[in-house]
């Protein structure tokens, strides 16, 4: 007989095992969906997960796609670890891109080594400014940061729309909604000739290292963790809650802003209406799939990035609808949340004794 028993303590091994289990279950369920749709499951999975990264170009595209996801998810992990639910990374990305794009446009047709650092910094500041709105409203007016940060996403997209349609639109562009192309000095350098992977990946890796250091080697990281487990304990221990809320939001906003900088000064090279295919929202899945652990987030961002690439390849070569990519992202999150059940409960085999 099998009995379900509550664990005394959440299992640490299971904690890191469940993401792997979730990915495995997603593959099985995905194969099943392909089978029902009338495709050969193994061939479909091959086109989804192996073919897109089988060559040098594909691999660089994977890294290109994973970079913003990783960067944003690292930022979000600061918030989520300390019980702050920042859902508006997409807005912080957009606003960071607006500020850094504005600075890049100021330097239109100018060259100089100093331009790029200013553009990058502007993006980080833009993201921080935008993230400070839900943080300040939460600390001083007790608003719900989930709602405020989410609603601000739409505001940021409308601001971007306004700018690229109106004052910032390319004067030679027949009033189409886009700005001028940035000058080369305002663009992130490419790492390899002919590939699109750019220096933004170093921003992401730096964020990974810093977050690991803060989480596991500093008092601040400890405070964050305690607040995450129990706000009451944190208060009892005398931690300055308000300061920390603002700090984690600023870090998260800076990371999202930098991700925006990476997109517009990297592969896009200008501002237009659609600078991010909802990286800010997808990064939430990445953060949880990576268990809010810096190394976990690296792997999670690669896994989620490949669902984007795979969906394109599967449509080109097998005519599988491209939206299955989103189905896969949804399934990963679903199975992860479902298998979290195992964290708190275990199956116990009981022999039938008389």
């Amino acid at each position: 007989m099998i009995k379900i028993v509550k664990r005394d303590q959440p299992s640490r091994a299971i904690f890191f095992f469940t993401p792997v289990l979730a990915i495995f279950l997603t593959l099985v369920a995905g194969g099943l969906i392909f089978f029902i749709l009338g495709f050969k499951p193994f061939e479909a999975l091959k086109f989804f997960f192996i073919v897109p990264i089988a060559d040098k170009y594909g691999f660089s595209e994977l890294l290109l796609k994973a970079t913003p996801l990783c960067l944003i998810a690292i930022g979000l992990s600061f918030c989520f670890k300390s019980n702050n639910w920042n859902i508006g990374a997409e807005g912080q990305l957009t606003f960071g891109a607006i500020v850094s794009g504005g600075v890049a446009l100021l330097f239109y047709e100018q060259e100089g080594f100093y331009i790029l650092p200013i553009v990058i910094l502007a993006g980080a500041i833009g993201g921080m400014l935008y993230a400070s709105i839900p943080a300040i409203l939460k600390t001083y007016f007790n608003t719900n940061e989930i709602l405020v940060s989410l609603m601000l996403v739409y505001v940021s997209k409308l601001i971007l729309d306004y700018l690229v349609v109106g004052p910032w639109s390319n004067p030679e562009g027949f009033n189409f909604p886009e700005t001028r192309q940035f000058s080369d000095s305002a663009k992130l350098p490419l790492l390899f000739e002919g590939l699109r992977i750019h220096a933004g990946i170093f921003l992401a890796l730096t964020a990974v290292v810093i977050s690991w250091f803060v989480f596991y080697k500093t008092y601040l990281g400890f405070q964050m963790k305690v607040s995450g487990f129990s706000l009451k304990t944190a208060k009892y221990a005398g931690y300055k809650g308000k300061k920390m809320i603002i700090l984690v939001f600023l870090i998260s906003g800076a990371c999202a802003g930098l991700a925006g900088v990476g997109e517009i000064t990297g592969p896009i090279g200008q501002l237009h209406r659609e600078i991010s295919p909802d990286y800010g929202f997808t990064a939430i899945i990445v953060a949880f799939l990576g268990r809010l652990h810096p190394v976990g987030i690296i792997f999670a961002s690669l896994v989620v990035a490949i669902t984007y690439l795979g969906a394109e390849t599967a449509q080109i070569f097998m005519q599988i609808p491209k939206y299955t990519g989103q189905v896969f992202q949804g399934m990963i999150l679903f199975f992860l949340l479902a298998s979290d059940y195992l964290l708190f409960f275990k199956f116990k085999f009981i022999g039938s004794k008389k």
Partner: protein, 356 residues
């Protein structure tokens, strides 16, 4: 006998040759990149109808739907160019820069970009449709059918394409009914059924009894059906979604152009072009006219359609004044393509300002 043998040998050779040529030609593969889902019953749906016409003509096609205009577009284009496609149609304005970028790297692949203006490499062509001609027809119908003299117009983004449509619509409506006013609601989206329905509702609440749209979903005609007002289908024949409300639709008919261009690639006669076709070339098609319209209006519309096709009537014939009363096009003159391409001012009779 001998002669017969030679003759049949020669003719079979000729036959074989034509078959081989045909077989080589049919090897051409075309790819289509879509901004939305193929089931949007609007913009993307009509491009996919065009793609199916290419398939029916005997060519292989591939498509990728829902490709965002972000950094992703370039990867999809490069993948298509790399996997044996000879001609790639990119069907949204935002693909303009990626299209030109990838075209530079694949000089042997032909690129066709819809609604853009950049042709930076000899293997890039652009194409668009003169939808404003269709809107002249809609304006004529709206001006005749309205009782409240308020016509609603759900617009997407303030770009010349959309402004041109509003103007052409309003000018035609004024011609049959000088008292009409066109009210605009900017939805700031091409496809968002929720937002579009809200915009339509707002216009109906302001007294509009005919609703036109420059967005792609069927939500507006369905809202009009519920409210008991008239509407026009956009991009595809939307009559089946709102049989009572829809008076007619302006259909985007890309098939003939697509087949033509793919055939040109197959024959080796493809060359760089900037195409802007209207009703006359069959790129803009007017659906069946609803029987609720009086017979004399229907015959008037038919005549107008024929005159637009032949060029006897131009949508922008002077005198045309802007909102402040300044002359835009003098009497007896017509607006040239340059003016149409950059049109960013409303004509007299349109209410409100262009969002800036």
């Amino acid at each position: 006998m001998h002669k017969f043998f030679i003759r049949s040998f020669v003719s079979s050779l000729v036959l074989l040759f034509t078959f081989t040529v045909a077989a080589i030609a049919k090897d051409v593969k075309a790819a289509f990149v879509y901004i939305g889902p193929t089931g949007d019953h609007g913009w993307t749906y009509q491009h996919d109808v065009g793609r199916k016409a290419v398939e029916a003509a005997g060519f292989k096609t591939t498509y990728v739907e829902g490709v965002p205009e972000s950094a992703d577009a370039e990867r999809v284009l490069r993948q298509l160019a790399n996997s044996g496609h000879d001609v790639i149609f990119t069907t949204s304005f935002g693909y303009m820069n990626p299209t030109n970028k990838v075209a530079k790297e694949f000089p042997n692949v032909k690129f066709e970009h819809a609604t853009g203006y950049k042709r930076e490499h000899p293997n890039v062509s652009t194409y668009a449709a003169r939808f404003y001609e269709g809107r002249t027809i809609l304006g004529t119908i709206a001006g005749t059918m309205t009782k409240s003299n308020v016509i609603g117009y759900v617009a997407s983004f303030p770009i010349p394409e959309v402004i041109r449509g509003i103007n052409s619509f309003t000018l035609a409506a004024q011609k049959v009914n000088p008292n009409i006013k066109t009210k605009i609601v900017w939805a700031f989206t091409w496809y968002d059924p929720g937002k579009e329905a809200e915009a339509a509702k707002a216009l109906i609440d302001q007294g509009a009894d005919v609703i036109a749209q420059h967005t792609d979903s069927t939500a507006i005609v369905q809202m009009a059906e519920k409210a008991g007002v008239y509407a026009f289908g956009q991009a595809s024949d939307m009559d089946k979604f709102a049989p009572k409300a829809v008076l007619t639709s302006v259909e985007n008919n890309w098939g003939p152009y697509y087949v033509d261009r793919v055939k040109a690639v197959a024959n080796g006669t493809w060359n760089q072009k900037d195409t802007w076709h209207g009703i006359g070339d069959g790129m803009v098609v007017i659906s069946d006219l609803d029987s609720q319209m009086p017979a004399d209006l229907r015959s008037k519309v038919k005549k107008l359609q024929a005159d637009l096709a032949s060029g006897k009537v131009h949508s922008f014939t002077g005198p045309i004044y802007d909102q402040k009363g300044n002359l835009m096009v003098a009497e007896g003159k017509t607006a040239d393509d340059g003016m149409l391409a950059g049109m960013m001012t409303y004509v007299k009779g349109v209410e409100g300002d262009i969002p800036k």
